[in-house]
Subunit: 204 residues, 2 copies
DNA sequence: GTATTTGCTGAACAGTGTTTAGTATAATTG
DNA sequence: CAATTATACTAAACACTGTTCAGCAAATAC
């Protein structure tokens, strides 16, 4: 009686099919301008069908966010694995900024967009928690080994994260045009600013 | 023949009436959830009338942003006027964070929202330019007088602004709940983190 | 072979930004 | 003052949006 298992599998496949289509459109035209009808059209189903697999548009965003956070964590694990926590901190920061600038659509969904976050707290604990954990553990190690000019792990993690997020989000939302005219100079400028900061923070 | 002048005056009055109503609703329910119909209702006009004074919803946002930037500049001028640029930098940062946390709706419109910015560059030069100028001049003075651990004015201005913006925007978008559970502790935490940073940056 | 459950659809509801034809009122002209 | 023109506004319409739900065909269960 493998029918229930098959149905279960078909259900998760359908959920994934919808999620993939949603992610594609979110990245192409943004969350706000993506409509349920467009998603449904792109996979050749009726709009109502989406609601048989996802409660509402926000739940679709949760799912996409989940995948995006996993992707960022993957980037961290791949690009920031130096044993020296101070060097690893540099790698994490660089990877973070690069990720943000190269995937503005994803970054938006993860850290800027309003939509759901306000509601449930458990969701972004499991979602963003792992990525932030990677950073905060690195900072903690830096403090332990006295490689960094800080004492409080929580506050310094927040400082590093906020700076990186500030740089990326101001750029994504085009607020840096007040001070950086040349679009191509952005990446260099953000990287240099982050490095200036790290040079100051990290003990020599 | 004062009729043309009167009409001109009535036109600007009407524009202001609409703008005030729009600002009020933007702050109450946010830009996205504010509808032209609601704005029109609140001032007892038909929706179409709004379009006789503003091209579209975005242009309404431009106007509100303009007022918001003026308000922030006012706060700077009032709360950050110490002659010592290093002390003034502290005042600016504190005022910025306080402004953001106390006026999340305004802050959103100014620095987070997507909508217009992408289009025209001149707009946020005149808009955000003055506020940013207040900060960047302070930083420049700090560097001149060697009160600060930096050399490049542009990069350090960006660093300070990004950190402050990162702190505020992560909070407004509820991304700090991953690391700060107690809502009341937020203000203290952000202030402490900013101060930790300034303590490190400012020469003693 | 009949009954039941499942998966999906298409239409409907209430809302959105925006455009436009039409209409009272006000201003100008003869 | 009367007739005409310009102005300010409205109501309705268009093409969308997220979401719900009655109904239906096909797969499953008995």
């Amino acid at each position: 009686m493998g029918v229930t298992e098959r149905k279960e599998r078909e259900k998760t496949e359908m959920r994934q099919l919808i999620l993939d289509a949603a992610l594609k459109m979110f990245l192409e035209v943004g969350y706000a301008k993506t409509s349920i009808r467009n998603i449904a059209d792109s996979i050749e189903y009726s709009p109502g069908t989406i609601y048989l697999y996802y409660k509402d548009k926000d739940e679709l965003l949760y799912g996409v966010q989940h995948q995006a956070y996993a992707k960022l964590l993957e980037v961290f694990q791949k690009k920031a694995k130096d044993k020296n926590p101070a060097k690893r901190l540099r790698e994490i920061c660089q990877a973070y900024i690069e990720f943000g600038l190269k995937n503005p659509g994803l970054y938006d969904l993860m850290f800027i967009i309003r939509s759901p976050m306000n509601v449930d707290e458990t969701i972004h604990k499991t979602n963003g928690g792992n990525c932030l954990g990677y950073l905060s553990q690195c900072v903690a190690e830096c403090i332990e080994q006295k490689l960094i000019k800080f004492e409080d792990a929580k506050s310094s993690t927040l400082q590093v994260w906020s700076l990186a997020h500030g740089l990326v989000s101001l750029d994504i939302r085009c607020r840096l045009r007040v001070m950086i005219q040349d679009e191509n100079a952005v990446y260099e400028m953000l990287g240099a600013t982050m490095n200036n900061y790290l040079d100051m923070v990290i003990n020599k």
